[in-house]
């Protein structure tokens, strides 16, 4: 099935594929950004859809907002447990996976709850108030160093820099080595097809290096007074301090990926969206107060994580379809975020939307993104500071997208800055 290879006729092709042959797991659909056409058809014709055959085996696609909400809030029936496959469409502990990592996002209660409680304070609103001045200062420095009027890659120069700096701040990570965090984040979610790592063995080796590095930081923090950084919190909290090593590493990587890949792509996605919607850009320039509502709209629009997956612990009915015990169930947030029956003019980027936080990008229920306000904070700061400096960030070439069905990534975004 090569529908995505034939760009000019893609709409027609999507309309005529037999519905049960649709397989939205193919990473190429996300890289070409054509997957939305498939989701549109599924929402209309078969919102709860079974794909019998794919490179990840059979799976259910849940494509409408309310059905996704119903699965996400029902953790007693829909498990996140790593041993059952975990939280992504590709099984976590498959032969391909690098290490038997354990992280609380891929656990059910009660263990999930204890571990999440131990680290959630680091991104709680009161802690963010303390972090805000540092994040702003660093954002200003990044923007002040950018050349005006030259072609630059926004992803590398701004999006990666800002999220990496924020992570290093959260972890109190050695400053000069902070790009290691970016690298480990990329490696964690990378398959060899992406070119990020040469093989699964190479990935394993890098993750072990990461583990050893953090082990050093852990030992340093556990022997010092408790502080407000994430490693110190984990080292001193009764819920996490005696954690087996792979669990410690898994949770760290969870926080790195959670705090890096996602916001990075929203920072780039926002620039792209404003360029594709010049009216919105004009509106923003006339009223920077709209940044508050634009930020959640960017997060909806980008949907940095396309899906989360669950495994059914018992037979269950969704949207008239019978899910069987053991089935893989994929909640496509990217599709639910375009569901016209819940979100008004869902296909439009509207920076003054009335209820902008009513989107699925953070998930719902007990696994809802705990860094959601940190993500919003970073985006708000960067846009406030951009507005002070630049009249426009002009996209000057085609963006390049990541080959992944999980991280909706923009890997390259050529832009030119226009001074205010």
């Amino acid at each position: 099935m090569d529908t995505d290879m034939v760009e000019p006729n893609i709409r027609e092709k999507v309309a005529f594929i037999p519905i049960d042959e649709i397989d939205v797991a193919r990473p190429s659909l996300f890289q070409k950004d054509t997957v939305g056409l498939f989701f549109e058809r599924l929402r209309r014709e078969e919102p709860v859809h079974y794909c019998r055959e794919s490179y990840v085996g059979p799976y259910w696609s849940i494509t409408k907002f309310d059905d996704i909400m119903a699965v996400d809030t029902n953790h007693k029936v829909f498990s996140s447990e790593a041993k059952l496959g975990g939280i992504a469409i590709e099984d976590m502990h498959s032969a391909k996976s690098a290490l038997e990592l354990e992280m609380f996002i891929a656990m059910d209660p009660p263990k999930h709850n204890q571990q999440r409680k131990a680290v959630t304070g680091a991104v709680a609103p009161s802690n963010l108030l303390l972090l805000e001045p540092t994040i702003r200062e660093r954002a200003c420095q990044i923007l002040d160093d950018l050349p005006v009027g030259e072609d630059i890659d926004w992803v590398d120069k701004v999006a990666v820099e800002l999220t990496t700096m924020t992570l290093a701040t959260l972890f109190d990570f050695p400053w000069e080595e902070r790009r290691k965090l970016t690298r480990w984040s990329d490696v964690t979610t990378a398959a060899p097809e992406t070119g990020i790592v040469a093989s699964y063995e190479a990935r394993r080796a890098e993750l072990i290096e990461c583990a050893m590095y953090f082990k050093g930081l852990w030992e340093q923090r556990i022997n010092a007074e408790p502080k407000n950084d994430l490693i110190s919190m984990m080292a001193h909290s009764p819920a996490t301090r005696d954690m087996p090593f792979l669990e410690f590493l898994g949770n760290l990587l969870l926080l790195i990926v959670g705090g890096n890949d996602t916001t990075r792509n929203s920072i780039s996605g926002g620039v792209l969206a404003l360029n594709q919607n010049p009216d919105a850009y004009l509106k923003l320039n006339n009223d920077p107060g709209l940044i508050t509502s634009m930020v959640p709209e960017i997060i909806r629009w980008q949907t940095p994580l396309t899906h989360m997956r669950r495994t059914a612990l018992q037979d269950w009915e969704i949207g008239g379809k019978k899910i069987r015990k053991g089935d893989k169930v994929v909640m496509w947030y990217l599709s639910g975020n375009r569901d016209e029956t819940v979100i008004d003019r869902a296909d439009e980027f509207i920076i003054d939307r009335k209820n902008p936080r009513h989107h699925l990008s953070f998930g719902y229920g007990i696994h809802r993104c705990m860094g959601n306000r940190l993500a919003e904070l970073q985006l708000r700061i960067i846009w406030e500071e951009i507005h002070k400096r630049f009249a426009k960030i002009e996209v000057t070439g085609e963006p390049e997208r990541l080959f992944s069905n999980l991280v909706r990534g923009i890997t390259k975004l050529p832009v030119r800055l226009h001074a205010r």
Partner: protein
């Protein structure tokens, strides 16, 4: 209509009128009370409408039921205590006339 007062973290009081059967979350959102986000749409799925029920009112409103979805979510909320509830899970009844709810500094 039933009168409900929201007290923000800086002490500002806002009294609003809400129709019987609507929830405390709607009381806040319909009247632009700051500090209540209610991201999920009022279906007990996100904990961004966290309130502290004034101790004098907790028996009339009812305490958090153990082991339910609301308790699942509130365990991760900042500063949650024995008076914590999600406003979307408080349907307003006539016996709540004069109810006082305290709003946390921020929700997440």
């Amino acid at each position: 209509m039933v009168k409900v007062t929201f007290v923000s973290s800086d002490g500002t009081r806002r009294a609003v009128d809400i129709a019987e059967g609507e929830t405390a979350r709607e009381a806040a959102l319909f009247n632009d009370v700051p500090g209540i986000d209610g991201d999920c749409g009022g279906v007990c799925a996100c904990a961004t409408c966290h309130v502290f029920v004034d101790p004098a009112w907790i028996d009339k409103v009812g305490r958090l039921a153990e082991g339910g979805a609301e308790a699942d979510l509130l365990q991760f909320a900042e500063g949650a205590n024995e008076y914590s509830r999600l406003a979307c899970q408080i349907p307003i009844e006539p016996l709540m006339e004069g109810l006082i709810l305290h709003v946390p500094e921020q929700q997440y």
